[in-house]
């Protein structure tokens, strides 16, 4: 009887604690709407195109560009090395391993940043980390990185430095100059990485 009282003394308070914790906190892999709102409001998901350009030029292996537009748009043009995960298929099982990982820096992009942002919202809400959004999307990328504007003579030095960087990045990335629809830089066709579904291990047991 004494042991029983001791046991009760330990497990009842633990039980009360675990019962008192709000249900959505017990499973921490998902974010609460408040946490999500805070993160989205702070804009932590955005990554500047200059950083992406630099990583592309450096051939940083940790960068993984994810095109969330439709496969047709992806076929027409995609950024160098990008893979295609159409927004409508984002939750498909075969992509879970790509989106929920901690080895790569995933950067979503679309024409603007709306679709990419939606993709980020959804994955973030699922608790996935290391996903980002290309700020400004492809439109900004074309207009400013691949064909940078010459700053005016009175611009501060930083402007010129950025212009120089962008010009050399554009050259390295196959852009530069005026982009006509005919000779738009054709990125090599991205190959889908082989998806090895992480099968749940099936332990078995019993008494």
């Amino acid at each position: 009887m004494k042991q029983l009282k001791l046991l009760a003394l330990i497990i009842i308070p633990l039980g009360i604690i675990i019962a008192a914790v709000p249900a959505d906190r017990v499973n921490q892999s998902r974010l609460t709407p408040h946490e999500l709102l805070q993160e989205a409001g702070a804009g932590v998901q955005f990554i500047s195109p200059d950083i992406v350009a630099d990583m592309l030029v450096q051939k940083d292996p940790s960068l993984r560009l994810i095109d969330v537009r439709t496969p047709e748009e992806f076929e027409d043009y995609s950024m160098s090395g990008a893979i295609n995960i159409p927004l409508s298929n984002l939750l498909s099982d075969e992509y879970t391993d790509i989106l929920n990982q901690d080895a790569y820096m995933n950067v979503f992009y679309s024409n603007g940043s709306v679709y990419a942002n939606q993709a980020w919202m959804i994955t973030r809400q699922l608790g996935y980390e290391n996903n980002f959004v290309l700020e400004g999307g492809l439109n900004y990328w074309f207009g400013n990185i691949l064909s940078p504007e010459v700053p005016s003579q009175t611009s501060p030095d930083e402007e010129f430095a950025r212009y120089d960087f962008r010009k050399s990045a554009a050259a390295a990335l196959g852009g530069g100059g005026v982009i006509s629809t005919d000779d738009a830089p054709q990125a090599p066709k991205a190959v889908k990485p082989p998806v090895t579904a992480k099968a749940k291990k099936k332990p078995s047991g019993g008494c």
Binding site: I18, A19, P22, K198, K201
Partner: protein, 196 residues
Amino acid sequence: MGPLAPNEIISENTNFLLAFFIGIAFGWVLESSGFSSSRKLAGIFYGYDTVVLKVFFTAAITAMLGLLFMSLFGWTDLDLVYVNPTYLTSAIAGGVVMGAGFIMGGFCPGTSFCGAAIGKIDAMVFIGGLFIGVYGFAFTYGWWEKLYLARYLGEPKISDKLGISDGLFGFLLILIALGMFVVAEWAEKKFPREEY
């Protein structure tokens, strides 16, 4: 972070190695708590010894609290923890067969190996029966397949069915367990046996 094996933090082989050591520890604890005695085990059905109920229910409560707290601290993802799928008909049929075997043989599968390890002949005979059952079932699987796969429920959780949180259900289960322990202690006083 966890669970370790599904997240590939440890390999399948390491997992088996850990299981091997945990298994040895488990067997040692079983033996030293007297689980190698079939009379002690059968006591649960007659009320004179309820150590089986107390040990296994305490183990279940401990594991449950451990998992819930580890999930709370973000150490393990409960979605990845393997849950046996429920086939209701075979769960009931299997429970009846296992229970009958438990009363008749005085062992459950795990404790029979525990008994055999210290040289108990009845435990060895029980293991023989166990293998006959396993092979018998495997070779006649075609006869049972329909029954075996009937009424598949997926991986249901009682807390989901009741519409309460996992934590609250855990707390209720603790209260139920403590209530059962009180009844068990009462039964031991009510149906005592001097020697077994």
